[in-house]
Every structure is written in C-alpha cells, then in structure tokens.
Amino acid sequence: MLQPLSTLPREARDTLFLLAVIAWIIAPLVGELPVWCSAMAALLLLWRGVIALRSAPLPSRWWLMGLLLLAIAATLYTHRTLMGRDAGVTFIVVLLALKTLEMRARRDAFVIFFLGFFTLLSNFFFSQSLLTAASMLVGLLGLLTALVNSHMPVGRPPLLQAAKTAGWMALLGAPIMAVLFVLFPRLAPLWGVPSDAMSGRSGLSANMQVGTIAKLALDSSIAMRIRFDGAAPEQRNMYFRGPVLSTFDGREWRPLYMGFPPLVQTATDLQVQGPPVKYQVTLEANNRPWLLVLDATPERPDLKGYTPTMTPDLQWVVERPMADLVRYRAESYPVFRHGPLREASALTLVDYLRLPFGFNPRTAQLALEMRRDPRLARADTSTLVNAVMERLRTGGYQYTLEPGVYGSHTADEFWFDRKEGFCEHIASSFVLLMRALNVPARVVTGYQGGELNGVDGFWTVRQSDAHAWAEVWVAGQGWVRVDPTSAVAPGRTGSLQRLESPSSAFTQALVTVSPAFALNLRALWEATNNRWNQWVLNYSQAKQLDMLRNLGFESPSWEDLSYVLIAIVVLASLVGAAWALWERHRQDPWLRLYHRATLRLQNAGLALPPNTPPRQMAALLKARSPATDAGLSSVHDWLLRLEAWRYAAHGKDKPPALGLLQREFRQLSWPKRLAPLASARPK
C-alpha cells in the first residue's frame, strides 16, 4: 500500500490520506450511528477515494444537494428531530462525508477539518475510556497532519514531514492544554441538555425482566471501584444494594414505591450494630439515579452535587441520573436489622405477598404440596426457607448463563422443566415460591463480590458481578437476606467463581499459555484505567478547589481559578516578551565567531569590505603576508575551515565542529600589525 502511495500524484495522495483519517475518526461511532448513516458515510468516502485515484471530476452540486436532502430526511425519520445529541452526531458524520465530495477551494478543506474536530468530540459522548482517548489522539494528529500538509504548497513534501510538524505542535501545545485543563473552571451545563445525552450506558436497570442480568454477565466492563479504609469485608458478604423489586406482573419485577416522595413512605426501621466498614466508591457513569452501597448504610453517603436519600427498602437514591463518573464515601454496617419486627405493625407486608393472577400455577401447586407436608404445615419462615434451599441444592438445579428463552410461566419452567437458570431466574422463582407459601419476600438487585486489583489496591466490581438475591420477612427479625443462587452454585458467592463468557481466540490463547501473566496484564490495564478515571475523567470543580486550597487559598471559589489562569497567561506573555527581546540580541554562534575574526583582522590593519566571506578574508590575508609566516598561514587555514563549516557541501566530508573552531580561535596567533599593502607600490 505504501509503494503505490508514494507514486501517486500529490493531490490524490493528500486526499486519500485525509479520507483515511476521516474513516479512522468515524469508525468508533459505527456502533452508535444508525445503519444507514454508517453505510452512507462509508460509500461516500469510498466514492471520493475512487475519484481521487482516477483523477475524475467531482460530482456536481445537484448530486450533493440531493444526497444532503436524503440525509436530512433519513435523520428526521430515524431520530424524529434534527436537534439533540444523537441526531446531531448522525448529521455531522453525514456532512463530513458529503463535504469530502466538495473539496474545491481551500475554504472547503477547512470546513472538513472543523467538522472533523466536532466528530472527534462526538466520540466522547459514547466513551471516554483510555482507548477512545488514544484513538482520538491519533485522529487529531492525523487531522493536524493533513492541515499542515495542505499548507506546504511547494513540491511534494513527504507526509512524514507534516506529521512531524503536527506532532511537535501538539507536544508543545500539551503544556498549554494541561494548564487550561487544570485551571479552566468546571461550570455547570450552560443550558438544559437534551434527555438523550446520557443514554448508551449499560448497567443495572430499574426493572428486572428475567434475562436482563444474564446479559450483563457477559459484560466485563467495570461498574465501580472501591477502596476500603481498613480491611475489606469478606467477599461473600459484599452485597452492593441496588434497586429492590417487590411488584411482579408475571413478566417484570418493579420497585414498590416508585414515584412516591420519600416523606410519604414508611420509616425504614434500620438498626445497626458493630463497627462500620468505611470506604470510597468510584461509580462509573451509569445514568441511574441510585448509589450502590454495601448493606446497610444508615448515614447519607458524602457525594458532592447530589443529595442522596434512603428509600424504606434501604436503597440510596439521588434526585437525578448520574451522567458522569462520581465518587462518594460511605460507612456501612455488616450487622444490621431492618423492617417491621411484628406483623401487626406491618400492614404494608401485604404488598410482598401479591402474586400475579394466572401465572405460574404449578409453583402455587408446589407451595400447596409443601404446606401439606406435615413437617412444614406449621413451620416458621426459616424452616420454609431451608426447605426450599434444600430443594435447590438437591433437586438437580443448574446455574448457567444460557438457560434459553423462558416462556410466560418463568417460575414453573424453572422449578419443573428447565431446572437451570441465572441468578435472576433463581431469585425470581424463589421469591414467587416464598410468596406462594405466604412468606413476604422480595427481589434485591445489585452487585455481589468484587476483585482486588493488586496493583493499586482498589476493589473492582464489574457488570458481570451484577446479581439478584432475595429478602424474606421473618417475624422478630425483619427482612433477612437469602441468596438462593448460593444453594444452586455455592461458588458464585463464596469463591467468586464466575461463568466465563466466550472470549476472543487471542485472549483464550493468552490465558492458556500463561494464566498468571494474563491476570497481571489485566490488573495493570485496569489500574491504569482507574488512574485515568480518577485523574482525568473525575477531575471536577471540587478537585480544582482542593488544588487551590493546597496552593494556599483560604476559601477558593471558581473566580480564584480565573485569577490564577489570568496570572499564568500574564506570566507566560512576559516570558514570551523577554524571550523575544533576548532573541533580538542573540546571534548565530557562527556569525559571532565570524565577527570576532573580522574585528581581529581589521584591528591588524586589513581593510575588509562589509560582508566579506571568510574565504575572501583568507585570500586578502595571504596577499598581505609573507608566505613563510606560519602563524598567519594557520589563521588562513582556519578561515577556510570557518567557511567550509557554513557553506561547504555537507555529506562528502563532515565539516569540523563549531566548538573546535571556537577553541582554535583562541589558540591562533592573530597578527598584531600587518605589513603595508603589497599592491600599494608605485606603478
């Protein structure tokens, strides 16, 4: 590919390079764009490439107008609007691809570059990972290279030269970037952001349809990171509480109190014992209005910019979805008791016994049969739980990622037909059976477990750690956690064994060859990613103000940030001015040496016209001096070498180092007084 590239005419080469850069920038967006948009962009770029290769004429404006109208119509059809983020991204990508077909004037090229910068930014709407950043840095350098190249009008300069200039500019611009990034005040959004801004991020959802968590289990991306102040609790006790789901309609589990303001709701009746576990959570952006904390957290987690409140079922929610990575501190008590203790005070427990009508008849039958069993007829709740758990343990039930598609009677299918499922199948079926046994029960979703990253000491919780478990109400104890999955697959919660999703051939090979190395590699990669999150993505106004506090500001505000920024700008300008002043007086070292030599010879009485080259100075000196004078002939040679250093064709023999010439200048025996001019003899 490189060989034909170097033989192409310059215009074709430049166009192909620019097209490649544009393709590089658009490529990561393909997953987010409508299919027609990706296809259209790809075809347009290909078309433009063929035109460049064949030096064919560009299509007429009518073509472009037609395509533009088509794109507008398609965007409207897909997004129902031209405003907002997703429609905007779609439209910009199409415009960028279309504009490549209209590169007539220099102005057109500039429009492409500026659209390219927008496209770069739009990549960050969907991912701000280290990988995206690196890929977009390449894209930016590519765009800058093309821009620099388009300002080299002479000949056919190699692209590498333009790339070097672009790289240098970016490198020298990096300190400016760092200063601005650190000090530019992080403002709140200037106006309302369209609601589609935060979509496209996965994680736990507010509802649970059987099968959704299994999807998450395939996603090994990181949900959050935790740093414990002291020792971490045992892995199997790490239950990070998410939405609590109590209403089941036959298909979907929903929270009970959705939509009620916290004040109306009943008290939580939370009592904690023992020492708390203190920790800090870095929660990846999940676009959900809840925090994930360990059971149970009575105190409000310390989260800037939000006011978390606790729901009666111990979940901490915030007032709006968290569109960005957030960090908060929390204190949790592993030993706790919550919920009404006596049935009399728990009228609301009725809600936890409801079963949808017409679903799972065989499960109801199973409950009836169990109640007929004399041992269980009058049994208390914990006996019933143990009986069901025993059934799960011994009934040949399987824990699997691929249980197949369940029909409408999910619990029936789990208990009798398939006998295999993921945690959500198990938890859902368990809760339904408990309710059929007249035991108040509910489903709790969240994350269970985690993994210690040995490199930086953070605990990593992944989407694949998403879990669903159950809580049953026990008289005198309140709500008690029961994890039916542990009965089916003890490894799931105990030794944190996970079902491996099919991974790529390379990863498999790596794991086969050296499991330890693969694990280390992954740990290192995630530690780096964590750093990235902590320092770049999570750099907020709070951090900015912390930094100012460290710099000695009493109570910093964002105005202070501006002052510091302005001070740095002023300082940089002063340094620049001083440098300019210095440069004006600075001389090329060769010229300085040359001037010193000129002065010596002039003082000795040699008349030198201005700007006499050293070669001519040597000739003049020779004409004036007796050939026998060794000192003068060495000066003569030195002058010739001074000339050679500057003007001789480099390559054949390397010119002497300038430092050597400077040293010799001091050692030479310069003439004090030259003999009178030889040519001044009378004619």
Binding site: L121, V154, A174, F184, V536
Partner: protein, 331 residues
C-alpha cells in the same frame, strides 16, 4: 510603480479610503533597502478567516464539553487551542530571521512581463515551508521553501507599466504555514532602481532610409553589387543572418559576412522623423524608435539615435543597443 493605486473615493468608500491612506503612509515609513532581515519589528501577524473559524469551532467545542460535562472534550478543546497557539508561533517564526537579498534587476521593456530575482537566506537549522513572495498588491505569488542553513532563489513576476528609471516596486512576503489560521507577512521596499525601456511597437514600419555618410570615405567605396565583400571570423554579437552557414557546414568555425563593408549609408533613427501614422504624442514615437533600434541591431546595421538635442553616434553591438534603449527610457 503600479503600487500607486487609484485612491478610493472618500465619500463613497470611507473605510477603503482611510485604509488606503493608512497603507500609503505606512509603506512610506519603511526604509529603502536592497537587503532586509526580518525581525519582530517588520513581521506582522493577524488571524485569517479560517483562523476566526477555528476560534468559533473551539468555542462550540468548549460549550459542548461544558454542557455534556465531558472532561475529554475539555482535553480535546484545550489541546487544539494549544496546538493553534504553537502554530501561531511557528507561523511567525517561518518568516522571522529570514534575510532577503534583491539581485539587481535587469532592464525591462514596459508592458512585458518581467521578473525580479530574490535570494532568500535562512540561518536556521530547520526548513522553512510555504513562503510566498509577490509584488505588493499584485496577487501573483511565487511559493518556495527555504532549506535549513541555506538559501533559495525566487523569481517574482511583475509587469512594469511605464518607461523610465523607477524604484523596484514594494515587495511582500507571506506565509500561512503550518495551520493556515494566521497570516504572517512583511513589506519590503527595495532601494534598487529598475530601468524600463519603452514598449517596442508591435508592427513597426521598415527602417527609414539611411543618410549618405559624411566625408570622403563613402565615395571611395564601390557601389554595391549585392554581394558581400568579404568574410571574417565570427565575432560575438554578429547577427545570425550574417553567418555564412555554407562555410560553417564545411569548416568547424563560424564565419560572418563583413557587414560593415556593405553599408554605405548611415542609418539615423530620429525622434523627429518617426514616419507617418503616429499622432504627435511622445510615447508612440519612442515605442517606434525602440522597435527600430531592436530591428537595426537584429539586422546587424550601424545605427545612430537622435532624441531632440541628444545624439548617439552610429554604432552597433549590445552595448550600443543598451545605450540607445536607455536614452529612450529616460527621455
């Protein structure tokens, strides 16, 4: 010379008028030099249209980053800002420190396209890219790169309008390298003068008849038989039509007819006798004389020039031709 634009009407175009007056005043302040070294004092910089567009783009990127709370968006915006600022510096540095030497221009004919030769010297250890030179206001750019620690020669096209001895027009050098967001330029008024001959008439009438040679020398000579009198070795400057090509084909050296023997009349080109078909204006007459001088020289004739009181004795050859043309230029 063509730098004297028609001044815009102050009432119709007040802004253009003020700008034009300012530019004239500014240029008249510049010293006249045949060699100029560009420093911070004489290199100017302003953002271009695309530069303002980039500023707007950066603004939109920043607002997007704020509204969508994208920290990487900030990184992108600021990196681009930093690169553009470095680009501004690089752009200024492309011209700063250059030395431009004017090679004394040759005499030109009015109206013909001529060139000014300029030697650009760079003392920097890196290549300077994309430097354009032009006569100020002409818009005909010659683009060049200046190698590291080296020099390059640039030819600038220009079209002298009027004959005479004029200063070389003001020149300008410009660069937009590397990003095109800034325009860095300088204006240079060379001290050298350029001699502009009159434009030769396109289709001049035949040369006027000669005048009998004064003195007895002419009568001694025989009447012409239409044959040449002798040959001699080729001398530099002999017109090609005098070369005896047949002999040249046989021998290795060129041989010319001895033309001086042929001409028995003195050819005088006189401003007062430029023939019919011309009005009384001076310039057309000078144009015709110019054309005749070139014609006579081409034919290898001896010719003299009379311009009012000024008289150049008959002669021929390059030096003679130049003397005649110069006389025509400054008349």
């Amino acid at each position: 010379m063509q730098a004297t634009h028609a001044q815009p009407n102050p009432l119709l175009h007040p802004v253009a008028h003020v700008r034009s007056r300012f530019q004239t005043w500014w240029q008249s302040r510049l010293p006249l030099r045949d060699s100029t070294t560009l420093t911070q004092r004489n290199v100017y910089i302003l953002p271009t249209g695309p530069g303002w567009m980039l500023a707007l783009t950066l603004g939109v990127l920043l607002v997007s980053s704020i509204n969508y709370q994208l920290n990487l968006g900030y990184v992108l915006t600021f990196l681009l800002t930093g690169s553009a600022m470095v680009g501004m510096h690089v752009c200024h540095g492309t011209l700063r420190g250059l030395t431009m030497n004017l090679v004394a221009p040759d005499a030109q004919f009015a109206g013909a396209s001529a060139t000014i030769n300029i030697n650009i010297v760079s003392e920097r250890r890196s290549v300077r890219h994309g430097i354009g030179l032009a006569v100020l206001g002409s818009g005909h750019w010659s683009w060049t790169d200046v190698p590291a620690l080296g020099s390059t020669k640039v030819q600038i096209a220009f079209q002298p309008e009027r004959r005479g001895l004029h200063p070389v027009p003001a020149l300008t050098a410009e660069t937009r390298f590397p990003l095109g967001t800034f325009r860095v330029w300088t204006i240079w008024r060379p001290a050298a003068k350029v001699l502009v001959y009159p434009a030769p008439e396109a289709h001049p009438p035949p040369l006027p008849p000669g005048e009998p040679r004064a003195g007895g020398a002419a009568s001694v000579q025989r009447q012409s038989t239409g044959e040449f009198d002798g040959v001699r070795a080729y001398r530099r400057g002999d017109p090609l039509k005098l070369v005896v090509w047949k002999k040249a084909a046989k021998a290795d050296e060129l041989v010319s007819r001895d033309a001086q023997q042929v001409q028995r009349f003195e050819l005088w080109l006189d401003l007062a006798h430029t023939g019919a078909g011309l009005s009384n204006a001076l310039e057309p007459k000078l144009s015709r004389l110019c054309a005749w001088v070139l014609l006579a020289e081409k034919q290898g004739l001896m010719y003299g020039l009379r311009l009012g009181g000024q008289e150049i004795a008959p002669g021929s050859g390059e030096a003679h031709k130049r003397a005649c043309l110069q006389a025509l230029a400054v008349h």
